[in-house]
Symmetry: C2
Subunit: 171 residues, 2 copies
């Protein structure tokens, strides 16, 4: 039951650190506030969730309409013996059909990439393709349950599940 | 079966990135090479493994003989939508009974801290104390099996399992 541990790890090791106050960090960033030809920036973390669990290195890799704009202020914590471990939130710009620009803080759900890699090594990891799809669904249900119960995280994120190669365009 | 997923995650998401070439990065660091009053620095990553799974923020927290010395050169990767994610290896100094100093690259096994936090939230996570100890053992067996099979990782790490509060002194 891979999904259960990965969801808890993703919460305790990352979202619990990052989500509280992310709205404030977005408001303090250089992309916040009215800009000519740009849409309102959201104060949420967008979490792309490909059901294949395959996470590209950047969101630009698949999509010409998305470019890398910068980062929010870095969070630095001492954690599990790593002094000064840093947590970076990436800001992207998307240009839509009517040439309007839109800035957002986004990334893939890093934790699920492990299941893709396990599937690629199924003879050793034991995770088959069918299991992977099942576990991906379990992961999403579990992480949403966990986050809804944390008032410091609630409402500060949006999961964007999708199938196939379509990444952001459908949203 | 929390341990299985966490071990694969720890391998694909971290050790596979960090361990290859860590010996070279240690040799290029300022602490390598003969120094007066210091013992030979090892080219391995020391991974403290408390069976309680409780990982303190730094190795100094418990132990006056350990101080933070610095970091190896940072590894930076684009990963799962995070542009420029950084991986830092912490260098510590330990002073032993005959006042000899010894530098080493070390940290706790970050991945297991999730199991400690799950145990603290067992009513919600479902992980009880007995399960946790069992899963900790499974984690260690699994991660060792994985790493032995990767020639780029083999021999570049040393797990230091221990019970109770004793951290580094026994080693
Ligand atoms: N010591 C240490 N230094 C690191 O830089 C580091 N990076 C990862 N890990 C540990 O390796 C394993 C695999 O990492 P992955 O990125 O797939 O999952 C990560 C990832 O999905 C997410 N996460 C954590 N830190 C970040 C981050 N900086 N950016 C994005 N996602 C992150 O939350 C999960 C759990 O993180 P940790 O519970 O800190 O421990 C991880 C994990 O056990 C690290 N361990």
């Amino acid at each position: 039951n891979v999904a259960h541990g990965l969801a808890w790890s993703y919460y305790f090791g990352y979202l619990k650190v990052l989500l509280p106050g992310i709205d404030n960090r977005i408001e303090r960033s250089e992309w916040w506030g009215s800009r000519q030809d740009s849409r309102m920036m959201s104060r949420k973390l967008y979490l792309l969730f490909p059901v294949s669990c395959m996470c590209k290195d950047t969101l630009c890799d698949d999509d010409d309409s998305i470019t890398h704009a910068g980062h929010l202020e870095t969070i630095v914590r001492n954690r599990a013996g790593t002094v000064g471990r840093s947590y970076q939130s990436t800001v992207y710009k998307i240009t839509d059909h009517d040439m309007k620009e839109w800035f957002f803080v986004g990334e893939y759900v890093t934790a699920i990439h492990t299941m893709y890699e396990m599937e690629m090594n199924s003879h050793f990891s034991g995770l088959q393709t069918d299991d992977k799809y099942l576990q991906a669904t379990r992961f999403l249900i579990t992480i949403r349950n966990i986050l809804e119960k944390d008032p410091h995280c609630r409402g500060r994120y949006k999961f964007l599940p999708y199938t196939g190669e379509t990444s952001f365009n459908k949203y």
